[in-house]
């Protein structure tokens, strides 16, 4: 366990957010602040996966991927980039990046992609499913199943429920959920969380008026019960 990730990210605030969130996810982290450092650490530290921001001072992200892939074809690379850089995306993937997340991104999505990339690379046979009660999350297909039959769920709904499934029994404030599911750089009212909770309840709860799985903790936030 305890996969070692190399984060190549020059923006200190995003870096801190990543370190905190990915740290909580149980990853061991190494941080590089520009492309040069990134290449150096990729060689010296042998990370299990590299998270690379395309917007870098000095050497650009494309150049970093090219250099890395000259000596190492195996370590998965997950790329972060602004959403309008479509050309970068294609180029990065063709150079050997494994996956691509556009900013602003939710930590849940990033984590999902990191885990997926790690899983793909290893022959790690862990079940790509999380099940509590009659509800199952198919992580690979990003599908929500109840008793094996699919329930329609949107991206946010899935991410939110995924986060709850990863931390059953723990209370989260609306602010915490905003941070981890919507992303550290997202700004919005806490009320939005309520709405998605309501939508999830209407789908997964047997009796949405008396929810069992997603419980309200008054004055604090919400808790997921298995």
């Amino acid at each position: 366990m305890a996969e070692k990730l190399l984060l190549i990210e020059d923006d200190p605030s995003i870096l801190r957010g990543l370190q905190m969130n990915l740290g909580l996810e149980g990853f061991q982290l190494i941080a590089a602040h520009d492309g040069e450092e990134g290449i150096e650490f990729a060689r010296s530290q042998k990370p299990d996966l590299i998270v690379l921001d395309m917007m870098l001072p000095k050497i650009g992200g494309i150049e970093v991927i090219r250099t890395l892939r000259q000596v190492d074809h195996d370590t998965p690379i997950v790329v972060l980039s602004a959403k309008d850089q479509e050309s970068d995306k294609v180029l990065a993937l063709s150079l050997g990046a494994d996956d691509y997340v556009t900013k602003p991104f939710s930590v849940a999505e990033l984590v999902a992609r990191i885990r997926a990339a790690l899983r793909r690379r290893r022959i790690h046979q862990a079940s790509a499913q999380l099940t509590f009660g009659r509800i199952t999350l198919d992580l690979e297909g990003r599908r929500l199943l109840s008793d094996g039959v699919e329930l329609e769920s949107t991206a946010r709904e899935f991410d939110l429920l995924h986060h709850f499934f990863q931390h059953p029994g723990t209370v989260f404030s609306r602010e915490q959920l905003m941070q981890t599911v919507w992303g550290a750089d997202h700004f919005g009212t806490p009320r939005t969380v309520d709405n998605f909770i309501a939508r999830l309840r209407s789908k997964i709860e047997t009796d949405p008026d008396h929810p069992h799985h997603i419980e309200t903790v008054r004055g604090v936030g919400y808790r997921f019960n298995p």
Copy 2:
């Protein structure tokens, strides 16, 4: 409460500054003047967090981190260093330091990072439960359990009992409880405390008329007995 910090700092003037400022923040302080002393005190004194200056005589900061992490992977380490030592920074973090502050630093920033590191560790700790007798507080789920079955409890009730659990056997005046549980900026009558004590007693005491856990100390306040 009163977290114990170990300061490893050879410069006497910086050390004095840290002692004064961090002392005022309510931390308990231990000072080591070089790396050897630091390692020794880290082992003997079991501090809650270590503040480490990278510029040290004899053994360097990197070496100190490496040595500390061989036996102890948990105690957070916050590193101080001159701002141009970028490589040290990354190396320190990859060796297991938790956070990094560059000199010249503001005390406010250092304090913020210390508190963040302490909080992160507390969250990360597995056993988020406090148990006395048949009563258990599940801190992650914010649940109050008696013999393992959940008792309904409101936010305030939980916070108040949580405070008692953290200081068993200590008498608190109503004013102190108001300050710590309700918050320093809260204004209200001391009678409110009585009410919440009564509500807690009715829930957790076997015989609420002759309370055992939450004892009245006439003329003073209340005390929690395990």
